[in-house]
């Protein structure tokens, strides 16, 4: 996962917090929750699209974390370990609901769907800064399979090979689902009034660089 490196002092204090939590220090548990709660909750919320489910899954992820924290040996960054655990909690939840299978079928059926175009206003494009609320809503409206890959790749920064491993699919399938997810999001946003505006093109000569 291409995570940002934490500053050294924070990492050092987090290491101390983890060590204290491993000894059962309640304050250390609370501090670790405080540091990571927003990232974990946001991940859960974007992967489920439902606040109640997201809170339940956040709770479950931290409970699993604290139950297993004595087994953490520091071989990877604590945040990486935690977020991978949270992703697994959410995926397990989605599999129990049977949503993953639906999404995989959906990918196949949508394989040859052409790119949608606005023939009447073909020179209009999405604003440089898409409305955050609309974007969150659009992500929540994605089919679960698309949403999972999109959140893992574009939001959380996982690489396709990691997503393939997590979701037990091929790298090609992960790339395909991501592309479909992006196109669906674009369609959703373009269908909503107020998100479109005319303006100068922003195309560069370079191919987009992946994160």
């Amino acid at each position: 996962m291409s995570q940002q490196k934490a500053p050294a002092p924070k990492a050092a204090s987090e290491t101390q917090l983890v060590a204290r939590a491993q000894r059962g220090d309640e304050q250390a548990f609370a501090a670790l929750f405080e540091i990571h709660k927003r990232r974990v909750y946001s991940l859960c919320l974007r992967m489920t699209g439902n606040t109640a489910e997201a809170e339940d899954l956040t709770q479950e992820a931290f409970l699993q974390l604290f139950r297993k924290i004595s087994t953490f040996r520091g071989e990877s960054a604590f945040s990486t370990w935690l977020h991978r655990l949270a992703v697994n909690v959410v995926l397990m939840h989605l599999r129990k609901k049977g949503l993953q299978q639906v999404s995989l079928d959906e990918v196949d059926s949508c394989q040859d769907e052409p790119v949608k175009r606005d023939y009447g206003d073909n020179d209009r494009r999405l604003m440089g800064s898409v409305d955050r609320i609309s974007l969150s809503r659009a992500i929540a409206d994605l089919p679960p399979g698309y949403r999972t890959v999109f959140v893992l790749h574009d939001v959380e920064g996982y690489e396709h090979n990691e997503i393939a491993e997590i979701m037990n699919c091929s790298v090609g399938n992960s790339k395909s689902q991501l592309h479909k997810a992006r196109m669906k999001l674009r369609d959703w946003l373009r269908q909503n009034e107020g998100l479109m505006t005319s303006g100068e093109p922003v195309i560069s000569d370079q191919a987009p660089t992946e994160r």
């Binding site: 000894r23 059962g24 220090d25 309640e26 548990f29 609370a30 929750f33 709660k37 927003r38 990232r39 909750y41 946001s42 919320l45 974007r46 997201a54 809170e55 956040t58 709770q59 931290f62 409970l63 604290f66 139950r67 052409p114 790119v115 175009r117 606005d118 023939y119 073909n122 020179d123 209009r124 494009r125 999405l126 604003m127 440089g128 800064s129 898409v130 955050r132 974007l135 969150s136 574009d154 939001v155 790339k175 395909s176 592309h179 992006r182 196109m183 999001l185 674009r186 946003l189 373009r190 093109p201 922003v202 195309i203 000569d205 191919a207 987009p208 660089t209 992946e210 994160r211």
Partner: protein, 230 residues
Amino acid sequence: MSETRHDSSAACYRFELELQAYMEGENKPFVLAHIRECAFCRVVVEDLEALRAAVRELPLEEPSAAVWSNIRAQLATAGAFAEKAGFWSWFSQLDFLRRPIPVAAFACMVALGCLLTAPRNYPEQDSTSALTATARRTAVRSMGFMGDNEALERVVRELEATFRAREGSLAPDVKTTYENSLLSLDTSIRECSDSLQREPGNSLAHEYLLAAYSQKAEVLSSALEFDEGR
């Protein structure tokens, strides 16, 4: 713009085939060339880039306070939290206490602190019996720290005289306990005194003698305090 999908279908179809790879960062010259000419396809790429930029700016969401409350309650029920540390638990965390030199230095500092803060006007004559038990103890400790053997011996004698005057009022079992302690300490005092007679420069015997006198003074003070408290 007046392009229609029909006008550019062949090129646009190839664009669609290569778009995914282009967005993954692969070098696709055809896509770059095509979006310069086709407004439809240019808007698609612009939208996807705007979308990707917007996703990176998405703020993190805040869970409700109930989440931590639930986690905390479940962890507490499962016994995940260690017992609250007691008042003296900090003492066991002082690693330096396990090393003799820092401990000795620490003890010297404490002794020096007591020496500097203890009352210096020791009772001269029969004033010992008039002192409260606490004051007696403080005076005795001060003498011990100062190494004032004669003053300490005098105080112990006076305390013992007072104790002998009052021992009849003590309960037999209490009296026996104190007597046994005093007997043991007297034996130590006698042994140390004998050693000092043989070797006046024996600093260890001198130190033990002072310690024995101090302990005897403590025992006597305790006995008198017990008697006063009844």
